[in-house]
Amino acid sequence: MMTRKAILIPPLAFILRIVLFNIPTIADTLATRVEVVTPITSFKRLTEGLYLYENSVPPYDNGIFHQAPFLLVLFSALTSLSPLAIPIVYAGVDTFIGYALVVITQMKQKNYANAPKLEVEKEMAPIDPWTVAALYLFNPLTILSCVSKSTLIFTNLSVVLSVALALKGDAIYSMFWVAIASYLSFYPAMLMPALVLIISKWTPSNNSTLVKQARASTFYFVAWLALFLISSRILVGSWDYLYSTYGTILCLTDLTPNVGMFWYFFIEMFDQFRNFFLVVFQLHAFIFVAPLCIKIREHPVFVIIVLSGMMSILKSYPSVGDAALFLGLLPVHDELFKYARYGFLVTNLYLYSAALAPIFWHLWIYAGSGNANFFYAITLVYNLGQVLLLIDLVYAVLRRSYDIANPHTIGKEVVHK
């Protein structure tokens, strides 16, 4: 099924990453960029925790390391193998995410083959799955995030795998991977209901009523998560890691700047209201799950895309790696592109923030001629771009459904009263 051109994509992507890993100035610079790595995904901090772990010191005592214990075990094994192991694993995992996206796209196209379509779509071939992979693998944000050795890549891998397995109808392993993702960075837990929708919608099985499937999947999810948490407890020897990992994510104890909305807000927030606004912000990230799952339940893969976009905006420590996952999943629903209204604006907002964020960071931190507001303003622009894209997508999916149901309204303004 692979075309001749497509066969070049994975090796090219792999080699490109390996080459970049071997240019120390690029790899080392990226490893410290706040746009790319956050306190909860930084490889530098992981190295610190790893050193303590391998010397039998409780790795969470230093207050620097905030990542899940499984990563300690993984990297402890990798570093003992060979110095080449880590770049190869990173490049390999990223390439594999690309392949998983191919699988997702194929499955989605198969499932939508008999779905109602617009007249114009009938003559058009859907997107080539390998184009989706290429769009992910050669997205500069993906490459930056991968070469920075951000451990977010493992979360992204887990999310993509859970979606692919859900499309294949494998509830147990889909829940396994979404539990891993939630275990690694907490927020992907919000994807669970959408995965249940995917499984129950396209898997013809005897217990495929939504309620039954939801009950079973919730059980698997909770069981896997409990298993991970308990085995982590055994690995590091105490429950302290919970506060160090999820406590940091939820309570925002590390205010290192990133591309998100949290850090500046909570630097400025009055102490008395800090807890209240933490609750508001964290609830805000989760408030969209139920409405989206109800309203767009006919397109559960699309719900996953929107929610990953939500995560990349509303999580407490976002980085460009989150946007990379969101933008990577986006072409799966390529039929929506013709409804997009803000494409030009959004592209420009991404480019604008990509150009100005490093400049303003330099002005603030090194030149001293700017201040924190400069960098924060750029993160606002970046997130404005993402929000516009999300609004556009949700509009597109609703309008397309409406147009399929009411073909006579195509091209006309629909006023919602």
């Binding site: 009055f270 102490d271 008395q272 209201f273 807890n275 209240f276 933490l278 609750v279 508001v280 609830l283 989760f286 408030i287 139920a290 409405p291 109800i294 309203k295």
Partner: protein, 521 residues
Amino acid sequence: MPDSTKRLVIASVWAVVLLGLPLWWKTTAVYRAQLPFSQIDSWAERKACQLSFPSTFVIHLASIADGEPQAHNRPLDFAVIQETITSHVNNRLASTNARECVEFPLHVNIQNWPITSDMKNLLHHIEPSNSKQVIAIADIEEVSSAVITAILKGERERVRSLACDSELTERSNLDGARTMKFSPTYQMTFSLMNGNPDSLQVDWDIEAAVNTYLKPFISEVSLVSNFTVDSQIQHYADLAVTPQFMERQKLPSYYYLTPQTLPHFINSAEWNLASAISSYPTINFILYIPAADKTPLRIHDDKGQPLRSNAFLIPRWGGIAIKNPPKAASGKLEFSKEDLKPFMEIFVAQLRGLIGIHDLKKTMSSLESSYEISLAPTPQTAVTVIEMDAVVKQRIAENVVNSIATLKSLAQLVMDIPNMVVLDHIRTEVQLSLDSLNQACQALQQEDYLKALQHSIHAIERSEKAFFDPTMVSMLYFPDEHKYAIYMPLFVPVSVPLIMAVIKQLKEYKKEKREQKVKAE
């Protein structure tokens, strides 16, 4: 079908909002531990416990010296003498202020003291000037009350002014201005400043000098405050002021500093005297070696005469001594322990002033008395027991008054700002501080000054810990109206569509009901 979807969506959003309400309540609750306001008030009004600084004097009276002929065979009535002395002293020291907030009970205790030969050398401490062999009762009374008055006068005045007067009068008091603010520990820094190391290298054996000349004094006063000692040598220590030149006929000419320029002597921009080692208050002592082109450097007094000591004290900061290097000296100048002795003497004298030890001799000489009183010298420690006693009393009064004032300000602050969070540990500190005050006051009444000092130190430390707690900053809190400004920017835009959606759904629901009714009919 689309209607039920819409309702589900709205309900799911509202469910999260409603889930947030108890969290809102929980996270913005203002926790206020109950502070013991009434106790603080009663302390502030000096009603909780009467401060009293009792003193007891034991007079050893040699009634019959061995072998001496007895002029009067009448036995001395000790009780009468005690009473007379007490009333004499009290009359002389009576406060002009009608409202007395401190008590000074005085106990005079006369004991019969058979003199043995080995005690004779002690006798000259208090010796009537007319050198009569036999001392009349009137003389005993007169001498004793003069001595006691002399001892008590200064210390009583200071304690009274500390305890009773407002801070303003305390500031105007020159002695008070010189003394460092109380701290349980001070950091003492000895600095050797070299004006120009190009022509002269300097070094000093400060450790030995401190151990020999300062240690005994420090260990004596460690009862009140501890000291950490460190030293440094700084080169290229330029003067911030330009000394004036005095040209003299026949005599060698010299440079001099006038009293007006002395406050600017410290070159705080360039001399790195601030220490980051500890947060204790620092007492600086500087031995300054002027550069060759400014030697010899002297200090003039008000009348334009050079000071013999060539040293001066900066109130609440430290002391400075200037040492002009000998003309012949070139290359290297090293101060041995013995060389440093005169400077250490100066520094110890300055330190006495800085930590609030008052010269008893000065008070004595100011009193009109027909008797000459001499005090036993203190060869080692540079502080007498009586002086130490006065310092302890003074510091107790200062600590008690200051901790009461701190607690009072804290109570005022908490009452003024109803939104202020008062955590449990603040209440604990306040309570402990009050307890310490109580214990200090009781110890005072029992004349146990050491215990009182310890408790008063605890009281001031705890009250300041509570007052300077990071959560007790008034700037963090604001009136209720400002909360609207905090909530509105986010919640008004969010709540408008939410509420509108609910209203719209309710309207539609009513309409449906009506239609159903119409249909049914």
